[in-house]
Symmetry: C2
């Protein structure tokens, strides 16, 4: 491959690519919000159009009971490996809106970054694959691998319909490798292959006493306050060493070898940089583990949101009738989300006092995953990254969840490569999400190069 | 006085009174909401008009830096006592709106009750005094006492401008007795004089870590979660006996005599009825005290509202950047709100971990109060109630706060009589606030009778 030609071509198309990306990130495809159903479909259709324009074939929407899946393929390399590329076109909610410097769905370039909900997670990364295909075909003709594309619209709400789709379309999706660009690089100019993901178990915990809010003058002191009970429960979820207190929570956690812990310790890390990225006061967490270990190889329990009683302007003197916490547990191999959800519910029912009613709503979940790092497809990816970035990639894990990774591995029997072009500080689930544009363009180059590196993996 | 004439007249005017009351409770005078400034003024002016129509003189609005005060007087009984009547035209917020059976500001009669925000607390009770005056004058001519009326629009947000107004208008407001109808009767057909009120100290406690919400995949387990810290703090506010753990919190609590505790114990009370009124699962609270004691003579600390992180539909996987609790403490004689607010702040700052920033915002406060129950004005009130209701009244305390009671006592040197016509289950700070109409009409009669009973108190 004439890499200089590829690189020069991509560089010449920067404005055009950004303009095209803008048309899909403008669409308010928030899957958590039932009111956005039409936007979800509009986004799926816009992506399908782009795929067709890029030359991808058999592009179509598969309907689900939720948001449609977008599929396309290009299968002309007989006897060569097949790569299945996955991405998602749904995005996280955008509140609190006042904290955005520019409107959440108005693509805005400031400095080296493109700001918009979905710019990094995951429409920008999905778009890399469309442009890589288009570019390769334009410059070098037929790709030396077969390609399949599957893009879903429910990643941020647990990929509920993707999993059954994968299981019922194994032939359609059959591939030698699954390539996912939905993760972050370890840092700027640090090409990264991610070999492990945490799983997720998400619940809503509600503590209820009265059916209506009560005047705290008339009832305060003589009725249970559900916020106090919820606080007691939350406060009890961790011991003083930051360990989760739910019985049997750690039973299935796979031991991590000293060797792997040493690999993690070798990665560049500084508290200063971590605090810059997070904006946190100090690093903290489970006693006895480093920051990266806490993020990658240790399970967690975090309250993601809490509400109850009066939350408006000013002061209202009520005893809330109920209070709710949204709680997620990040899981590591070999924890199983279903078991963890059961343990959570059992524990909460066990410790709830008789003064209240307690409800546990199991929301969604995804299993933790590990990818073998000595697979030829991983080595091919490493080689492509090295060519574009000029350095060997880092091997990391990721603290987040991509529930379908496990499903792809299980259902297709194919290794999943996590080739992310995001960055850890791109606010992918927070206000002012953005995408570092140089990695976006280098991502397009990397994926085009990767087609050739992948051609010989079997 | 020809009581039968009074009673028959009031009974004949029921629909007319309800229609008139409807015009003022329709006005959305929520003082906690800065967006309702115009409604506040509109409500004040509507009440002033009604006062003029009733024959009250020198009616005018006194401007404050907040909502206007409405004043009026009728001073024609030379050498006779002067009664100052206080009420408030502001109301509590109305959320959660979906829990209202009919729109919050749409007066609706169902059964024996009138449903509307403000029907009971306090526009309905304020209105009783306007109609009592109008009726007395119409039927019996000049009242045998002098009357002054002062209605404020900031009771639900701590009466911030009333207190300085009272202190700077002592001559204008000078009276022998202050009469307040803003409390509840002990139950249906149980005429009640309230001789004690709890005070209030209200704060907003915010725990903050990062400046933005963080992706719980990227950061979960390695940064402090402000909701967890807030839960720890709230959980620690009470010991296992339901006592508030803030150091020195109980230092100034006046001892209550065994005699008074026996009086409280003699009042009709059943757990069943208490649970029916509150909708709570079980009665509970501080160990060693009865329900009425917990409500009237014991101080409390309650979270009135809590919020942080993602509180919308569905699931969002973030570590909240901050979390806030609105917290109020109900105070009893001789606790001082300023000292309690200081103790709260000191305690929270003392126990806050170094992983977060903690902010305490002192919101508003009111002092606890006690009224001597052997004062002639209390006896006159007792006699008026007995005439209208046909039974001797009950003497109670109230768990709620009317901050200005202390100010009236201190600044005017006058006893304050709490003559409430509300009921404990009228949802005065909750959805579906309502007013029991029979007490409303009996209230008008009682106040008209009271003019004559009060004529001889000095």
């Amino acid at each position: 491959m004439d890499y200089e030609k590829l690189s020069a071509h991509v560089d010449s198309k920067r404005q055009e690519y950004m303009d095209q990306l803008a048309t899909i990130i403008r669409i308010e495809s928030i899957s958590a919000d039932p009111a956005r159903n039409k936007d979800m479909r509009r986004c799926a259709e816009a992506i399908a159009s782009m795929m067709r324009e890029a030359g991808i074939e058999n592009v179509r929407l598969f309907e689900t009971e939720g948001n449609p899946l977008v599929y396309g393929e290009y299968i002309h390399a007989a006897g060569k490996p097949t790569i299945l590329i996955y991405g998602h076109y749904d995005v996280q909610p955008v509140d609190p809106i006042p904290e955005w410097n520019t409107p959440p769905f108005e693509p805005t370039v400031r400095g080296d970054d493109l700001f918009c909900r979905g710019a990094s997670d995951d429409k920008g990364q999905l778009f890399i694959h469309l442009k890589a295909f288009e570019t390769y075909k334009l410059l070098f003709g037929e790709p030396p691998v077969n390609l399949k594309f599957i893009f879903e619209g429910e990643e941020e709400i647990g990929s509920i319909h993707l999993e059954p789709f994968i299981r019922s379309h194994k032939d359609l999706l059959k591939a030698d490798t699954v390539l996912i660009s939905d993760t972050a690089m370890y840092g700027r100019d640090m090409p990264t292959i991610c070999y492990g993901l945490r799983g997720l178990a998400y619940v809503e915990l509600t503590v209820e006493n009265a059916t209506i809010d009560l005047h705290s003058g008339s009832f305060g002191g003589a009725v249970e306050n559900p916020v106090h009970v919820l606080a007691d429960i939350i406060s009890g979820f961790h011991d003083r060493y930051g360990r989760v207190t739910i019985p049997h929570f750690y039973d299935d956690v796979a031991e991590v070898s000293d060797g792997e812990r040493m690999e993690i310790a070798r990665l560049p890390y500084s508290d200063e940089e971590f605090l810059r990225q997070s904006g946190a006061v100090v690093p903290c967490g489970e006693f006895g583990w480093s920051t990266n270990e806490r993020l990658w190889i240790r399970p967690t329990l975090d309250v993601n949101g809490i509400y109850g009683g009066f939350t408006g302007e000013g002061a209202k003197t009520i005893i809330p009738s109920k209070a709710t916490a949204k709680i997620s547990m990040r899981l590591v191999p070999n924890q199983k989300s279903a078991r963890i959800l059961d343990l959570f519910e059992e524990h909460v029912k066990e410790i709830a006092p008789p003064t209240v009613k307690v409800f546990v709503k199991k929301m969604h979940s995804g299993e933790p995953a590990l990818t073998p790092i000595d697979h030829p497809a991983v080595k091919a990816t490493s080689s492509a990254l090295e060519q574009v970035f000029g350095k060997k990639p880092f091997y990391t894990r990721e603290g987040g969840s991509i529930p379908e990774v496990t499903t792809f591995q299980d259902a297709l029997g194919a290794p999943v490569i996590l080739l992310g072009f995001g960055l850890p500080d791109e606010n992918s689930h927070a206000p002012n999400e953005h995408l570092y544009l140089r990695h976006f363009f280098d991502g397009i180059k990397t994926v085009a190069v990767l087609y050739e590196k992948m051609a010989s993996i079997r």
